[in-house]
Symmetry: C2
Subunit: 362 residues, 2 copies
DNA sequence: TTTACATTTGAGACCGGTCTCACAGGAAAA
DNA sequence: TTTTCCTGTGAGACCGGTCTCAAATGTAAA
């Protein structure tokens, strides 16, 4: 183990010596605990200032057992959804004098496990996680059982009863899909970046990441409602930013029975779709209607602007952080599951289904 | 001081006892240092597994003096520029087994100072900062003098000789402005979110945030080059996302001698501008040409798509992180100032200046 | 067999704080 | 005046690791 020159920092003992009091007394005024007389306090404070004393938070954490920081594991900070949520979290944390250690899972369970291990070793006081996958949650269950409070962001896990903040995904998907069905669309695709472990055979049982499951349920509800059969065939997983998913999109858009409307699960997918649709020479909304989750900034400036499901992303982050910090302060109410409402912002990316339009003209 | 029930965790001593060796020996195998015989190592490892031992990183940091984490202070994680840079940083950090503690300054010096104080107290091994302001850098100078390596991201400070990674802002602005001047524009505005302390009277001397200064210099170079006088009158500071700056934009766009072309300092400003331009009933590029720094994702999907200065944002983050980590490993070469190249992606947001076009028709 | 040296192990100090406990001295109560 | 209680202070243990140092053991060379 290498041993770089340690910067010899000023400690309580140094201050104590300078102020001619005991270490214990100096620690009391510097640490702000216990009782100290005014005169001694002043003397210690003066000595501290003279020496330019800076507390060592690490040492403090060692004895107190609390580090004053929380760990946040998100899928991808680059995704504006997460950066906004993180913003919400860190704003709240700062107010409580807590800081945030951020880790990226890249939506990989292994990376997530690893990040959590590291954060735990750093003795974070609490953890906010956006679980990458719902299949492997043993590591999360373990945290939940431990003394370290855990809160889930955006994605609930049915088998994990901890504080969770999500949005009303099912209802949002239902309402969004209805906009499409009411415009006469019958071939509607749902595209998500999530990957499905195993096959999806019309049974939603295998999907237990709440976000994905709820949205699909809502989507299917709306389809069923308007008599669309076998709607589950049009659910596409794994539509990320990769080259392969781009190829899949193109394939879908060029197929003869291509959908006439698409619901995208997040703004990153939607942006890729938007580009792909244009590249395929299709027009929005005439040839393809599009609705996406997340009111990303770009959705209002495209031509046409995109109809979106506006999720309260900042509030999402703010709420989990508040929930978690409440736990940190000793709250031991049963776990809460908060579901925030979404609104749909209707813009110009939805048109009547082509065949319906044709019929109308005929 | 409250005293929540400490979760009694498994320590080296516990493992040592279980393995029937001394604490020192157990520590050696668990900490991976010193020499231990195979048999003993196996015994300790087994005991550790049986007890489910987890190292306490904090305690480790206490003695080693290194925390294994670096602090990153950015202006605003919400800005895609920063989130991408942070992504670059954290990817590099992860590779070195270092983690990142993120803090938002909100571009406020006070918040920045505070964040740095907290991070230092947490004994971060190094610091990456995007200085919010260039006027007050005493706190940064102090860090630089201390044993804690400091690196600057995106914004250089002339008076602070530390590792710095920026882009060739001056040249980028020059080239971008030239595109506008060559299209015949003479009333060109430069809009930045940065705020100027005091007045800006054509002298760039007061601006010592490199990014802003260099860009303005490049802008003025190009203007001078094509004989545009008093170009500095068209430099607008403080064009953020606030309501007031929106009003300022509208005022500018509606004034009789409004510019015919605008260069925006970042994609957030540009997006606001884009909206404002449309709200004022102006068309891009016919009535207003627009170029912006940062190839944000939305710039390619608008109608028309926006000509941008493509900064290597991810690489920017990657580079500072590499520089900083090199320092952490003991490198003591003189501070390095890396300037990364930019490219201009010409899209459809620049047209001939209206008057030039008119003259051509006449 | 003795000496020399390398390897493995244990004891305990240390990092920089917090906190328990004992005790001195002053004020209030008896 | 004596007893009781409270306040302010100091001594030192403790948190969970790392690391120095010396002792113990084993092995090779003389």
């Amino acid at each position: 183990m290498k041993r770089p020159p340690k910067a010899p920092s000023i400690t309580v003992s140094d201050v104590a010596r300078q102020a001619k009091v005991s270490k214990a007394t100096a620690a009391r005024v510097l640490g702000g605990y216990g009782r100290v007389s005014k005169t001694v306090r002043a003397a210690v404070l003066e000595a501290a200032k003279a020496l330019d004393y800076r507390p060592n938070e690490l040492a403090r954490s060692m004895t107190t057992g609390r580090s004053g920081s929380i760990g946040v594991v998100v899928g991808d900070i680059e995704n504006p959804f997460f950066s906004l949520a993180v913003r919400g979290i860190s704003d709240v944390a700062r107010l409580s004098g807590i800081n945030v250690i951020l880790a990226n899972s890249g939506e990989q369970v292994e990376a997530e496990k690893n990040a959590i291990r590291v954060l735990m070793a750093k003795q974070v006081d609490g953890l906010i996680v956006t679980p990458a996958q719902s299949g492997e949650i043993a590591h999360l269950v373990e945290i939940a059982r431990s003394a370290c409070p855990l809160a889930l962001l955006d994605r609930a896990l049915p088998d994990l009863d901890v504080d969770t903040v999500t949005v009303d995904d099912r209802d949002a998907a239902l309402r969004a899909t209805r906009i499409l069905t009411r415009a006469g669309h019958t071939r509607i695709a749902y595209m998500t970046a999530a990957v499905l472990s195993g096959d999806f055979r019309g049974s939603e049982s295998r999907i237990n990441t709440s976000t994905v499951r709820e949205r699909i349920l809502g989507f299917l509800d709306a389809c069923r409602e308007s008599g669309i059969e076998r709607a589950e065939r049009n659910i596409h997983f794994g539509s990320g930013r990769s080259e392969t998913s781009r190829a899949v999109m193109h394939g879908l858009l060029k197929s003869p029975d291509r959908p006439t409307a698409i619901l995208a699960s997040d703004s990153v997918v939607a942006l890729e779709l938007f580009k792909a649709i244009r590249e395929c020479g299709l027009r929005i909304p005439q040839d393809m209607s599009l609705i996406t989750f997340h009111d990303a900034d770009w959705t209002s400036v495209t031509t046409p602007p995109i109809t979106v499901i506006d999720q309260p992303v900042y509030a999402l982050g703010k709420s989990v952080a508040e929930l978690l910090i409440r736990r940190l302060k000793g709250d031991d109410r049963p776990p809460e599951r908060i579901i925030l409402p979404t609104t749909i912002i209707e813009r110009m990316s939805v048109a009547q289904a082509p065949d319906v339009a044709r019929q109308a003209t005929a």
